[in-house]
Amino acid sequence: MGFKGYRRPDGRVGTRNDVGILSTVVCANEVADAISSQVRGTACFMHQQGCCQTPVDIRRVNDTLSGLGRNPNLAAVLLVSLGCESTAVEEVARCIGDTGKRVETVVIQETGGAARSIAEGVLAVQGMVQEASRWERVSCGIDELVLGLKCGSSDTTSGLAPNPALGIASDRVVEGGGTSILGEVTEFIGAEHLLARHAENPKIGQQILDLVKRMEERAKSVGADIRGGQPTGGNIKGGLTTIEEKSLGAIAKAGTAPVRAVYEYGVAPSVKGLVVMDSPGREPEILTGLAAAGCNVIAFTTGRGAPQGFPFVPVVKITGNRRTWEKLRDHMDLDVSAVMGGAETLPEAGHRIFQEILEVASGKLTKAEISGYTKAMDIYMVGPVI
């Protein structure tokens, strides 16, 4: 059992074969978007960062863009730079190029404005797309899957059906030798003791507790109750009362596998199995972090209906809320609401999620890919804009 993917020169496997257009700074977004809209087979990543930030955050922008460019779902990469940003564009290009894939850069201030840069970029990516089209899918094992775990716009169905079912699917990926990445550290608050018990050893357990403490202190530092922000207003309407309740439902998607390592945001795991990555719960930042860490597919459970995917990583949307399945058909990929009434068991739902992940990894399009609802992304920052 496995899937068909694109084996890249660095040995990693992609589930998509896009040419990536990465904006290196907020000021280059318009040009990157315009290039992408004119060339089929491209995927554009835009964000709000890259300038007037602390060195810690600039480093994170560099690392995240490098990680995104290195993601095996991209066959080649065009970097779109303004020219005066803080992002270390050449370093990012070199880091991506180390994987063996083609990387080119368009610099707006050197090329002479948006119009010329768009033209230059379009010509560059046309060639890249044609080269990429020669790649063929080959048989790959479960061990080549790097699955990102995410839940969003949760309600009380999330913790009862889709999250525990996804946990079962995640366990299958881990049993098959693959990797599964759990983020959303905010949504460990109140459940971290259970997750820490899943740690492979006490040191990793302590790292999980430390990560949660850091996130909670950060949230508390503004001097307010986090309720309203976490759980969100929508979560509360859906019946979730406290962050503890949300977290207890959220961590179910990590299944029962031992946590083998803890990583900072966007860092590609050097071990297989279940790992934890620092990240907030908000969609634009965690989806980017998972993609930068090398996820080739993401499973995203939702209660009330979160619409977005990611530009070049397929995001499988799974809901346990029958009303959401019926009302948001253009955003939902899988319905596990039968678990709520007892008509389907969790293992049955988990099996269906696992099968869907394999099909999507082999090329089946997700709703977010079909609709292109992937533009509003961002990178998780820790310091201020200055």
Binding site: T156, D225, I226, G239, T242, N321
Partner: protein, 100 residues
């Protein structure tokens, strides 16, 4: 049998509604193999919680067998259990910074 609400762990003192439940209805609550009947005191929207025992002010509220918060007032059996009568114990920057 099809129930109107479920309790996830036996120690839990709240149930999650599997449909909109009206005031005065006698809801069937699945608790593992057993079913308990609870007279509902106010409207419980789909996915929301209600007390399956009388919960006293200051008592822990339990779901998944874990503490999800603390009762800020008495929550009689069958009453909607949500933000109006449960507070979180975590992420409370309002308490640590001398707020209130």
């Amino acid at each position: 049998m099809k129930t109107d609400a479920i309790v996830i762990k036996e120690v839990d003192n709240v149930a999650t509604a599997l449909r909109d439940i009206q005031p005065g209805e006698e809801a069937t609550v699945g608790m593992g193999e057993t079913v308990k009947r609870v007279r509902i005191q106010g409207a419980i929207p789909y996915g929301h919680k209600f007390a399956v025992y009388d919960i006293v002010r200051g008592e822990d509220v339990l779901k998944y067998g874990e503490v999800i918060g603390r009762a800020t007032e008495n929550i009689p059996i069958g009453t909607h259990a949500h933000i109006q009568n449960i507070e979180s114990l975590r992420g409370r920057g309002d308490l640590t910074s001398g707020g209130h």
